[in-house]
Point group: C2
Chain length 333, copies 2
């Protein structure tokens, strides 16, 4: 008998559902999240999809449980709590799924799921101390200390994107100003581009693009074609991120940082200035000792793989004294 | 039979040696560190003092080991590595003491010892996740995650004082610029005072004091007597520290911060602006949930108590898989 796990990766547009085999073999399917419609309809469609995948489990084997990665996940309560761009409010998703499946169910946020995925299936295999930085519409992280996720007192730890790096800086969606996220997320890179276009006189094809059509991907294309403003925008993001990774090194003494998410598709346009700034800002005794890597997991697979690790490797996730943390893994059993 | 532990707190001027009983009862004595003389003479004097205290252990009881708190301690190697203001270079202090005492010996830095002391004997008793910030000549920290010290891959974690908060900011002893320490340590508060005296025209008794005689304690006295420049200097330090504690909250989700060390003697002159800035800069869902406390341990006792916890509570200090971390606790046994 072998154990299979269901991984679910809830995104603002799509939700990927995966059946993960004992050696990480993966079958996935995708449904529309429809974050503006009734969440109970979402759960019903999701569970139908899970049931379809479950039917593919070879006879005699079992499903060990369902792991979920979601924005605004509260792993202790088993809830999704009013994520940006969703009109679900707070939903008790673990209980809702449990009405369909009598199995252990656990949930965590995207950053933590990414870290679990890297530790079990990605470039962090075998590492004890590392930090995954997720760079997309927002900036998050999953911090692993001694092969366990850093969760904190309420399960809220790891919000590296909401460290204030500039007093009175850019307005942030969190209600404050100057958060790291406002400088190095995809929209942050666009804000820097617009600032540069305002400050500089250089010729740039970016001047022909309306702000509504300006995305980090567009800026990246221009940078790859040699546009000076675009290259500088990524250079500034890289400088800020590199400095921040040096700060995180002083705090955590990690083996590696793993960059994950859409913005990392820019490749060397981003990574070169990150690396240079990182080594410049490190305390001398760390130089050359801390790895800076890009995730190698496939887009569309990383999330479900990471979510499944919540179930297949609960020891990465639970506290050292599980009795005090029993609500993390919810089960009807 | 009851177990006693020896705690040693090495400072730049004095070294406190303590005999700690099973309920934290403490007998201490103090020797001059003499950090500019031969370190083997220091070890010889230290061990003589330990032997004297050891003679006070009631018959039939044992010494469980010797715990040491020191600047620039490397807990994995058992060394003190070229601390600022010492001319010892790197010394293998654990091996040196072991030539006198056949007992487990462990060493850690001041910040970590302070955290261990608070967890076992101080205001952090019973807490799972908290951070001690040491504010003195330098700024350090001891970070406790799930009742274990955060050590990192090389035992170097927790250098909160060397997070860069201002690119191109004040020159720091670490060779870089803009580190938190250069703004909120005792010398940092003096630097701010001098800057204010240069920038402002206000009458201030501080203008009569030479820079050599200007200490954070002097600035504090003036602040307590209503000097505007002095009050503003502490206000700026408090604002910066409060913002940083809010950042550390986003990263760690702790129950509490505990401020420890000489600068904290300023009391409300410092704590009021820290508290105000902290609550202002916190993400909204943390407001009112994270405690900000001053250490209540007695000066001269905190260090030895914390150092002794290395031996009495090795579970706070060792990794989750002690076999891979065997060098932390060195023993001849």
């Amino acid at each position: 008998m072998q154990e299979f796990v269901i991984g679910v990766d809830i995104g603002g547009t799509n939700t990927v559902v995966g059946l993960v085999g004992p050696r990480g073999e993966l079958q996935t399917s995708t449904i529309d999240t429809m974050p503006r419609t009734d969440p109970s309809l979402f759960v019903s469609r999701l569970c139908k999809e899970i049931a379809t995948l479950q039917a593919n489990v070879p006879a005699g084997n079992t499903i060990k449980g369902i792991g979920i990665a979601s924005p605004a996940a509260n792993s202790q309560r088993g809830t999704i709590e009013d994520p940006a761009n969703f009109s679900w409010g707070t939903i008790d998703i673990v209980s809702m799924i449990r009405e369909y499946f009598d199995t252990p169910i656990a949930i965590t946020n995207d950053g933590n799921a990414a870290a679990l995925g890297e530790m079990e299936y990605g470039v962090a295999k075998g590492m004890r101390n590392f930090i995954v930085i997720t760079l997309g519409t927002g900036v998050g992280s999953g911090i692993v200390v001694d092969r366990r996720l850093l969760l904190g007192q309420n399960g809220w730890a790891g919000e590296l994107g909401h460290v204030i790096i500039e007093e009175g800086g850019r307005e942030c969606g969190c209600g404050r100003a100057g958060c790291l996220e406002t400088y190095i997320s995809a929209p942050g890179i666009c804000r820097t581009t617009i600032e540069l276009l305002a400050n500089k006189s250089a010729v740039s094809g970016l001047r022909d693009i309306g702000h509504k059509d300006l995305t980090a991907q567009v800026v990246c294309e221009f940078a790859k074609n040699g546009d000076g403003i675009a290259i500088e925008a990524f250079g500034i993001a890289g400088e800020i991120l590199g400095r921040w990774l040096a700060n995180a090194t002083a705090i955590f003494d990690p083996e590696a940082f793993i960059l994950f998410g859409g913005v990392v598709n820019a490749g060397e346009i981003l990574l070169k200035p990150v690396r240079s700034s990182f080594e410049t800002h490190l305390m001398s005794f760390y130089r050359g000792r801390v790895q800076l890597m890009a995730s190698q997991l496939q887009k569309g697979q990383a999330g479900v793989l990471g979510a499944s690790v919540l179930i297949s490797r609960p020891e990465y996730f639970t506290s050292h004294e599980p009795s005090e943390f029993g609500s993390t893994l919810s089960s009807t059993g």
